[in-house]
């Protein structure tokens, strides 16, 4: 657990006035506010740090404690103890009031929790807006490309609740789907939040995918390329037999209609499968082969 320099977080001097702290917090918040930085985890982290710094520095009581013992936070408990004894001695034990409803973002660093007990030590500024609609949940679902070739059902556990989900074939990498009403409960009669699932699709196959089309490179031996012939090619869900025309060039592309990936939310519709032939030139030739190739080259030169 590390000490956090809250003055540095807000970019203010140790002697900064309350007004300067408030101004600095507002300025930084405008930069790192999560609403202004969608899908930016770094901004979210910074914003939490800012709020924490603001909670400490905008409250005279918290700031005093932090200034006195911030860097020696391990001794904060002793400080508290001696303060309590002093208060008892003085006969007016006025406990600091740490009450207050800080809604949302109540996610503190270990450092903060060790000094302020993790309770919401609400500062004078930076109170968050009370939410009416329940909080939205975000989840990330990692699937294999093979999984999304067919429509299938899956049970996800999100915040302790099981949600049965139909994942349509053809879902794309990075695609987000919204499941209405599966977020947190609202407050004051507000509607429930929603659940957003972002799909991350890992591809461990030899196929490359662009939306509903698939691409692959198929090796072709020199003799089939020159003389023509039949080959068997792997498709995503099986195999097909293909005729090779005599004199097929390296890099020739062939389109197999309807042998691609399923089209998202369009049943029984498939994209195309594009094959690129890569002709393999023999490398370690036997004496006999060398002889024959030489003969061939001489024929060509005649």
């Amino acid at each position: 657990m590390a000490f956090i320099d809250y003055y540095k977080v807000l970019g203010v001097d140790k002697k900064a006035t309350e007004a300067e702290i408030k101004k600095a917090y507002r300025k930084m918040a405008r930069k790192h506010h999560p609403d202004l930085n969608p899908n930016d985890k770094e901004a979210e982290r910074k914003f939490k740090e800012l709020n924490e710094a603001n909670e400490v520095l905008s409250s005279p009581e918290n700031r005093k404690k932090y200034d006195a013992h911030g860097e020696n936070w391990q001794h904060a408990d002793q400080y508290e103890q001696s303060k309590r004894q002093q208060q008892q001695y003085n006969g007016r034990g006025q406990q600091a009031d740490y009450g207050g409803g800080f809604s949302g973002g109540a996610d503190y660093s270990d450092f903060f929790e060790s000094m302020f007990g993790g309770r919401s030590a609400r500062g004078s500024g930076g109170g968050r807006t009370a939410q009416f609609k329940g909080q939205d949940f975000n989840a990330e679902l990692h699937l294999d490309l093979k999984d999304v070739y067919t429509t299938h059902k899956r049970t996800l556990t999100i915040n302790g609740k099981n949600i049965r989900l139909t994942i349509p074939a053809g879902v794309e990498n990075g695609q987000v789907i919204k499941i209405t009403g599966h977020g947190a409960a609202g407050s004051g009669g507000g509607p429930k939040g929603d659940l957003y699932i972002t799909f991350t699709i890992d591809n461990h196959t030899a196929f490359k995918r662009d939306k509903e089309n698939l691409y692959a490179t198929v090796d072709l031996d020199l003799y089939s390329a020159i003389l023509g012939g039949d080959i068997t090619v792997d498709t995503f869900d099986g195999q097909v037999k293909l005729k090779i025309a005599p004199g097929t060039q390296n890099g020739t592309k062939v389109k197999l209609k309807g042998k691609g990936f399923p089209v998202y939310k369009k049943e029984n519709q498939f994209g195309d499968f594009y094959i690129t032939y890569e002709i393999k030139i023999p490398t370690s030739l036997s004496e006999k082969e060398k002889e024959l190739f030489t003969e061939l080259s001489k024929l060509k030169n005649l």
């Binding site: 918040a29 506010h33 990075g174 929603d194």
Partner: protein, 97 residues
């Protein structure tokens, strides 16, 4: 109109501690759609998410209504660009080994 999925503006005014004029101003700029049924103004619950964002910008960041309009236009652009970026990245995989 079926008001089942609509929330009276008064409820929101009380909950968020904002002025009624705030909603009317947002509506004038086309940022929210207000429906009136028997003299009661409602907002569809699907727009609550965006409204809460606007309220947070207003209350936490001191952004005025015109500023919110600008921010929302830019956020829409960011959203479109992020989607395009994902598509481009997916396409890029075609050319990478």
């Amino acid at each position: 109109m079926n008001i089942e999925n609509f929330i009276p503006i008064n409820t929101l005014v009380t909950h968020y501690k904002v002025e009624l004029t705030f909603f009317n101003n947002l509506s004038e700029l086309g940022l929210v759609e207000i429906q009136t049924v028997e003299h009661i103004q409602y907002i569809h619950q699907d727009s609550i998410y965006e409204i809460e964002k606007m309220i947070r910008m207003h209350q936490e960041l001191d952004v005025n209504i015109e500023g919110i309009d600008v921010v929302f236009n830019l956020l829409q652009k960011i959203d479109a660009l992020q989607k395009e970026l994902i598509n481009v990245r997916n396409r890029l995989q075609l050319y990478e080994n």
